[in-house]
Symmetry: C2
Subunit: 325 residues, 2 copies
């Protein structure tokens, strides 16, 4: 199979959006933006042996996740994901079937959101695979959920549970014994196939004001970003952290994973007390777990504080990933 | 310098376009599309030791070229480049200063086109650097220059000169002795810092019909794509190929490089006889070399034919890059 056959095999035969005027096959994709909407663009990269390992992730999983983390960014802006473009650098030892499988993992997820693949690039990697996905979405004008929108008095919330992805990774790496958890597969799936919270993001876009981040670098990091951008202090409670019961009881690292593990791709955000019930009801009706974990205050000495189980107040630092130390 | 400092240092302080509602610093970039325009999106990837080598390219050059090849795709659609997003996977041995230099190379070029950097991602590479750039542009509704627009009778044209980038690469790799050319630097610059033909693309967008490709994979490949998409046959003449005189006289490979070398990032296209003079005049007035190299015919047995210097007709195959053999 040569590059042209490969492109042919991954080019979608039908498109969900009639606004795609030119898809794959010319120098660039062309689409018509919806009037009354703003365009949202995100891009994220996954590197073999840094973000995934072929020993424990199938190409389908890698493709799925590379798209999922970008959709999650659109969700965190309150937007509707629409299009995606893929750059794939793969070593020559990869078979065409593996590349196709990677695209299939993406297609599987894209179908759920009626997203169209509109462009891409497949090149030779010198050694390890690198996959970059660009996602384009849209949001009604003025309704994007920005980090700077937190206000004192707001409820701080988190969807789903956190720390599970880190637990899954620990299982995959063999650092945690399989016997530690009864629901092993749950954690592994949370790591390999996170579900972006698009629906919650859409609910949030309808609120008067809401700050929103997806949890890619860990809850502590995301809340620090919101607090910084909004010039407020966020205070959360350890006892309120939404952590899977299996994890909380079985593993000493649960707190570290929940706060700093990252890759949960849940949403963390703030909403006014008045609108919190509305959001809660919407999420309940849709079967999406969501939970208050704290409150927003006027700016104090730190960005993020946590009341521990033994009633102490500690500062939660970003502990984000530092590439250049 | 940590990742946050780095992001801060590369985040533009001013934006050219007021249509950028949210730039770097949130989960995604948000912009408002111009009414009456279509959106164009392209993405291209460059891999260390596959597309560039650090021995002969400075980080500034690599950044410049990674952006240039994407702008060239926008040019080939007849569009105006507006925004770009960068994904950079760099090995841990790279210094922050090198990453900044790469961004500076991009900024230098972006300024010329009043383009804004609106997003990005810097991650650890396991071994070799990989840089993916996404460019977003726009074109007036219905005016995009598509490959499928060639019609029998059209003039086939090429801008600038071709084969020079391949000659430059050959010099850089030490395969061609420096003494072979008097204008060495010209060829090396053509390889390291190609100039995207945005202005010619914009002229073409105003034509009744025009098929347009940028020459990334070599003239033969680009013309094959136009002929295929338009269901026509393109016939060119060897004697008309725009090749730098230094190259044509000095190197036995000039023809191979001109037809199959690629990375010239000139434009190849077709235009009606009637409008050819208009395009020619426009290019002349703007100081951009452009030349007729052939004619479009009704579909014959091959996509692309070339009349050689000794009056034979040969078939020009794609000879595109095949990743999977």
């Amino acid at each position: 199979m040569d590059e042209f056959d490969l492109i042919h095999s991954i080019t979608p035969h039908t498109l969900h959006h009639t606004s795609v005027d030119v898809g794959i096959g010319d120098d660039g994709a062309v689409y018509t933006a919806s009037p009354d909407f703003q365009q949202i663009v995100c891009l994220d990269t996954m590197v073999e042996d840094v973000h995934f390992k072929l020993e424990y992730s199938a190409p389908e999983d890698i493709g799925y996740k590379a798209l999922a983390v970008n959709i999650s960014d659109i969700a965190a802006m309150g937007g509707i994901p629409k299009f995606y473009l893929v750059s794939l650098a793969v070593p020559s030892c990869w078979q065409a079937a593996e590349v196709q499988a990677m695209y299939e993992g993406m297609t599987e997820l894209a179908k759920l959101y009626r997203m169209d693949l509109i462009g891409g690039d497949t090149v030779s990697a010198s050694d390890k695979a690198v996959i970059t996905v660009t996602v384009i979405g849209e949001v009604e004008k003025g309704l994007a959920c920005l980090r700077s929108s937190a206000r004192p008095g707001d409820v701080v919330f988190v969807t789903g549970d956190i720390g599970s992805s880190a637990a899954g990774l620990s299982l995959l790496l063999g650092e945690t014994a399989p016997s530690a958890f009864s629901e092993r597969d749950y954690f592994i799936q949370k790591h390999k196939r996170p579900v972006p919270r698009v629906q919650v993001g859409r609910f949030c876009s309808q609120l008067q004001h809401t700050a929103l981040n997806d949890i890619s670098d860990g809850l502590a990091s995301e809340l620090n970003e919101i607090a910084e951008a909004s010039s407020v202090t966020i205070e959360i409670e350890e006892n309120l952290l939404p952590v899977h019961p299996d994890l909380r009881t079985a593993h000493s690292k649960w707190k570290e994973w929940a706060l700093f593990g990252g890759e949960d791709f849940e949403l963390a955000g703030t909403v006014s007390q008045k609108e919190w019930t509305w959001l809660l009801d919407r999420c309940k009706a849709s079967g999406v777990p969501i939970k208050q974990v704290g409150t927003v205050y006027e700016r104090k000495e730190a960005n993020v504080l946590m009341k521990t189980a033994d009633q102490k107040r500690i500062v939660l630092e970003k502990k984000g990933y530092n590439h250049f130390k």
